[in-house]
């Protein structure tokens, strides 16, 4: 009875294998074109399940001697799909490394990580094909099932490693400042401007903590870049502290346009008597100094960055 069922499964698998592989490739392509999870959301069929099923089917087929159709699928995969998919994937990741993160998706509407599933699948099929005829095949194939079930993690981690390595290759000459700028964006450049224009030990009033100043308003992060300067949070519409104890106040548009606690872009939203003001252009890093400058808050949403040297009462 058991033997009969086993033979039946073997028979079905011989014909099911090409169908499963084709379905897996097609669904992975659709997901990488739309987004990962698109098919499972709309059809309840996750391409990754098809991928795992196909590999289980391939492993089963190889241990039982593949038929001509099965061998043809293996050959097309190994000699056509695998090289094309690998070159395509690496090209996408290189394009991202040289342009910006998400460049490929925003330009060609293909997700490299989604496409990488095709590469991994193709590679796994090719490796399975290569095992035909090797000794202890049944035992080997059984053990191969372990990583197959974890192929999702494997794909994500490998993709992350490959794309990160390509980024490093493309930006091998980056300085510390370039790397931090690439990681923290405008915020890092702004802290360097503040650092260059305030002496160590001075006290600086920064915006309240919350969006749109989720970074500049967070003293915990600021101190890493600005220590040993003393940092104090102000309120949105008033200093919230005696300005005689403050040396500088930031002119801070905000790192995002997101609002929290009712805060909106531009800070300070109060006037400040300043000895001088220095405006900073985030696009090119240029500065403009205005002597005897009083900072007057205007209720307009104009992007401004800089620093005010507070005039103290004598």
């Amino acid at each position: 009875m058991k033997r009969h069922i086993f033979q039946k499964i073997t028979q079905i698998n011989k014909f099911g294998f090409p169908v499963l592989v084709a379905a897996a490739y097609l669904s992975l392509l659709v997901d990488s074109y739309k987004y990962i999870g698109f098919l499972s959301k709309h059809t309840l069929v996750d391409p990754r399940y098809l991928l795992v099923l196909s590999l289980v089917s391939a492993i089963f087929l190889v241990t039982k001697r593949a038929n001509a159709l099965g061998l043809l699928v293996f050959k097309i995969n190994a000699f056509l799909i695998l090289p094309i998919a690998t070159v395509g994937y690496l090209t996408m990741r290189l394009l991202e490394a040289f342009h910006f993160n998400n460049y490929v998706f925003s330009t060609y509407h293909v997700q490299p990580v989604g496409f990488f599933y095709i590469v991994v699948f193709s590679f796994a099929l090719a490796a399975t094909y290569k095992l035909i005829g090797s000794p202890n095949l049944n035992k080997t194939m059984l053990l191969l099932l372990i990583p197959v079930f974890f192929i999702d993690n494997l794909t994500k981690v490998l993709d992350s490693a490959i794309s990160s390595n390509l980024y490093v290759m493309a930006h091998i000459n980056y300085s510390y400042a370039d790397k931090m700028s690439a990681s923290w964006g405008i915020y890092y450049d702004y802290t360097q401007f503040i650092k260059a224009n305030t002496p160590e030990g001075s006290s600086i009033l920064v915006p309240p903590q919350g969006y749109p100043w989720f970074l500049t308003g967070n003293i915990g992060v600021d101190r890493y870049f600005l220590y040993p300067r003393k940092l104090v949070n102000g309120d949105e519409r008033q200093p919230g502290t005696n300005l005689n104890n403050v040396d500088y106040i930031l002119i801070d548009y905000g790192e995002t346009n997101i609002s929290q606690h009712g805060f909106t872009n531009i800070w300070p939203k109060f006037d400040v008597d300043g000895e001088y003001l220095i405006y900073w252009n985030p696009l090119d890093g240029s500065t403009e100094r205005v002597d005897n400058g009083k900072y007057i808050y205007k209720a307009e949403n104009k992007e401004q960055w800089g620093i005010i040297r507070v005039k103290h009462d004598i």
Partner: protein, 446 residues
């Protein structure tokens, strides 16, 4: 700079390497190598902290004197205990012989991941949120001022112990500018350690490689080589401590048993808030009663306490915390019991499912399959399973308290996911153990 940095890190490793020989005499070169790093960096930073507390500044001289002294001490004790100046070393090469195709692919991927982690961490400076705000900030102030007062006065200091911060400080005083590579070494050393420990189960090499690969690609592990958070070292100490507790009790091996106590103690030196050490300490005590090793638990608890207590005492002096670990456990447990109401349990359960079970789904499915298999074959090996179940229970209880008392808990699900990132790896070890057990069962059936 590079030479000094290399010498400084090598001295840490040699100390740990020699010390590991005192715990497990007949371990091979690779096991001692991985343990050498874990023990070396953990014990060195711990003693450096104690010395600083006593007034010795953090600087190159104190660090070098300490690490040289530790090496000398370890050699001396080895000589006294084993009659040789250096530990017994067996450099096996059988791992590297006659690879089949799947093994070549598996080893290729493992090496690629290890090298990639190293490349990334050498290239990128410390740049992620918590590492900037806390761990590396403290390290920079320690290296600049030589003492802890400046960092303490800046606030946000006592939440986490100093293992990773002092490891960064060591890199800075040695002239290095980027301590990120430490985390890649943790990752690589742990993969070696896992490989060696699974190999001890006499599984085929293909299975050992496949299981090590699962650990290498386990969620969060690889990415944390770049983050410079304390989660990766913490997870590694907890997992290694659990594995050596397993070997210690299984083989009635006092050396591995005490090694577990040190590793679990060092996990609390990496992160202090999580209570997962509890599962190992309780298991170490209870199982010893079964095997009638009455004095072993005293040594275990003594070693563990000697590592957890100093930081807690330091905390209690400056920040008003408590050193009464047992009292804290009792009060936390009673708090959990009091909160067992449906109105709190339901959102906690949903939060836990969404951020732990879904993320690590395949591992929990594996855990379920393994438990069913163990029941089916009437297994007598339940230690690792118990540890995992205990840890999951504690993670849930912790989440319960978190959701109850911290208003923004729902906003930081990633913290929970990071906190339990060691559980999938423990499940991989359990999988290895149950494959070995199942193979034995099949042989006996035949």
């Amino acid at each position: 700079m590079i030479i000094l940095l290399t010498i400084g890190m090598l001295l840490i490793w040699t100390f740990g390497f020699i010390l590991s020989g005192l715990f497990i005499r007949k371990s091979n070169f690779w096991e001692k190598t991985s343990l050498g790093f874990f023990l070396g960096i953990g014990i060195f930073t711990f003693l450096w902290f104690i010395l600083n507390w006593l007034g010795v500044p953090y600087n190159l001289f104190s660090g070098l004197s300490l690490v040289l002294g530790l090496n000398f001490f370890a050699v001396l004790v080895t000589r006294m205990k084993h009659g040789k100046w250096l530990p017994w070393v067996e450099l096996t090469t059988e791992h590297l012989q006659k690879f089949s195709l799947p093994e070549k692919i598996g080893m290729g991927i493992l090496m690629f991941l290890g090298v990639s982690a190293l490349i990334q961490s050498v290239y990128w400076p410390i740049r992620f949120w918590d590492s900037l705000v806390l761990y590396d900030f403290r390290a920079r102030l320690f290296a600049q001022t030589g003492f802890m007062q400046a960092a303490i006065s800046q606030g946000y200091f006592f939440g986490y112990p100093l293992l990773t911060s002092l490891a960064h400080t060591w890199v800075y005083v040695l002239g290095g500018s980027n301590p990120s590579f430490i985390y890649s070494i943790f990752y690589i050393a742990f993969l070696i350690s896992f490989f060696v420990n699974v190999e001890k189960m006499k599984l085929p090499r293909q299975a050992v490689i496949a299981l090590t690969l699962l650990v290498a690609v386990s969620p969060r592990f690889f990415e944390h080589t770049q983050w410079a958070y304390a989660n990766l070292p913490y997870s590694i100490y907890i997992i290694s401590g659990s594995i050596y507790l397993y070997w210690g009790l299984k083989n009635r091996d006092f050396g591995q048993y005490t090694l577990s106590a040190v590793l679990i103690g060092l996990s609390t030196w990496a992160r202090g808030a999580e209570p997962f050490w509890l599962s190992c300490v309780i298991t170490a005590i209870v199982f010893c009663l079964f095997i009638k090793k009455w004095l072993w638990p005293l040594v275990y608890v003594g070693l563990f306490a000697s590592i957890i207590i100093p930081w807690r005492y330091f905390q209690s002096i400056y920040d008003g915390g408590t050193i009464n670990v047992v009292g804290q456990v009792v009060s936390t447990t009673s708090s959990v019991v009091q909160n067992l109401q449906f109105s709190v349990l339901k959102p906690t359960f949903d939060f836990f499912v969404a951020n732990v079970f879904i993320l690590y789904l395949i591992y929990f499915i594996t855990l379920g399959v393994v438990i069913i298999t163990k029941i089916f074959i009437k297994s007598r090996e339940w230690l690792i399973t118990l540890l995992i179940v205990f840890d999951i229970g504690m993670a849930f209880a912790g989440t319960l308290i978190f959701v109850k008392y911290i208003a923004y808990a729902q906003d930081i699900p990633d913290s929970l996911a990071r906190m339990v990132m060691f559980i999938p790896v423990m499940i991989c070890f359990l999988l290895a153990e149950s494959i070995a057990e199942f193979s034995k069962y099949l042989k006996n059936e035949k």
